[in-house]
């Protein structure tokens, strides 16, 4: 998972859990049954675990661009480079 993928994963599970919790709470309040709230919250948790925990390909669309080895060999700044 790259850095942008990590940010995306975190944003995703934030919204999924908060929205499922809010929907569950409203439905539970209307039906006067907290168990329904809990079930809908559990569904949100399940979706978040499936979607945000494994390293899916769409979290790796912005791979880190490392510096080229040749840049290092030219000598950057004050550091001494062997060879």
């Amino acid at each position: 998972m790259d850095f942008k993928g990590m940010a995306l994963s975190e944003t995703l599970f934030y919204y999924i859990i908060i929205i499922s919790g809010a929907i569950g709470w409203i439905i539970g309040f209307l039906h006067q049954n907290f168990l329904e709230t809990f079930y809908i919250w559990s569904v949100g948790l399940g979706i978040s675990v499936l979607l945000c925990v494994p390293d899916w390909p769409f979290f790796n669309r912005n791979p880190v661009k490392w510096l080229d080895k040749s840049v290092l060999e030219k000598g950057v700044g004050k550091g001494k480079v062997k060879g």
């Binding site: 859990i17 919790g21 309040f29 006067q32 925990v53």
Partner: protein, 199 residues
């Protein structure tokens, strides 16, 4: 967020925080100012208690150094109004209150029942039901005592503080001035029946 375990930890514990928030919000909604107090500000969401009275006295006997009374009750109450979405169960109990020379207030639990939120039938309707726990005093001082029966209920919520309510229907009766045992009482009843037949 760089490994599976860190992400799993983040997802699970964030969701638990959300669940805590939902539970706290649910406990706020069970406040009487939101749910209403059924016209009884002292005990919010009070059930409707219709009958609470003595049916018949079985015995009043000394057991060593203490007096023990056994009797049956008529109980009729509807506990549906006491339930809302944040109630797990109610612990309902009937308490006998009386005063003796040594103690100005005695409270003895005679009968109890747990009503769960999932129970379909939340109505108590019992006729001539013998008390579960006999009325025992601390001394031989139960004869001629005036007893008040009161119905209490402990509300056990899913999240919130426990609260206790007491019904306004009070069953009053006076225990006889002499000891009564079951056999003797039966004889008395027979005599009364015979008299009635003769009449």
């Amino acid at each position: 967020m760089h490994t599976v375990w860190v992400r799993l930890n983040a997802v699970v514990f964030f969701s638990l925080s959300v669940l805590l928030t939902l539970a706290l919000l649910a406990s706020f909604t069970s406040h009487p100012s939101i749910l209403g107090d059924n016209g009884n500000p002292s005990s919010p969401l009070s059930p409707s208690i219709k009958t609470l009275k003595l049916n018949s006295l079985r015995s009043l006997r000394p057991h060593g150094s203490v007096d023990r009374a056994l009797f049956s009750l008529d109980i009729s109450a509807d506990f549906n109004p006491a339930f809302h979405w944040n109630v797990k169960q109610l612990f309902v109990f009937i308490c006998a209150e009386f005063s003796t020379p040594s103690n100005p207030l005695n409270q003895v639990v005679l009968w109890d029942k747990i009503i769960e939120a999932k129970d379909v039938d939340k109505v108590i309707d019992e006729k001539n039901s013998i008390i579960k726990y006999s009325l025992i005093s601390q001394g031989t001082d139960l004869r001629g005592v005036e007893v008040e029966l009161k119905m209490y209920w402990d509300t056990m919520p899913i999240t919130s503080t426990m609260s206790m309510g007491v019904g306004d229907v009070v069953g009053k009766f006076t225990l006889p001035n002499d000891y009564v045992s079951k056999a003797e009482k039966g004889k008395v009843d027979d005599k009364v029946k015979r008299r009635k037949r003769k009449d």
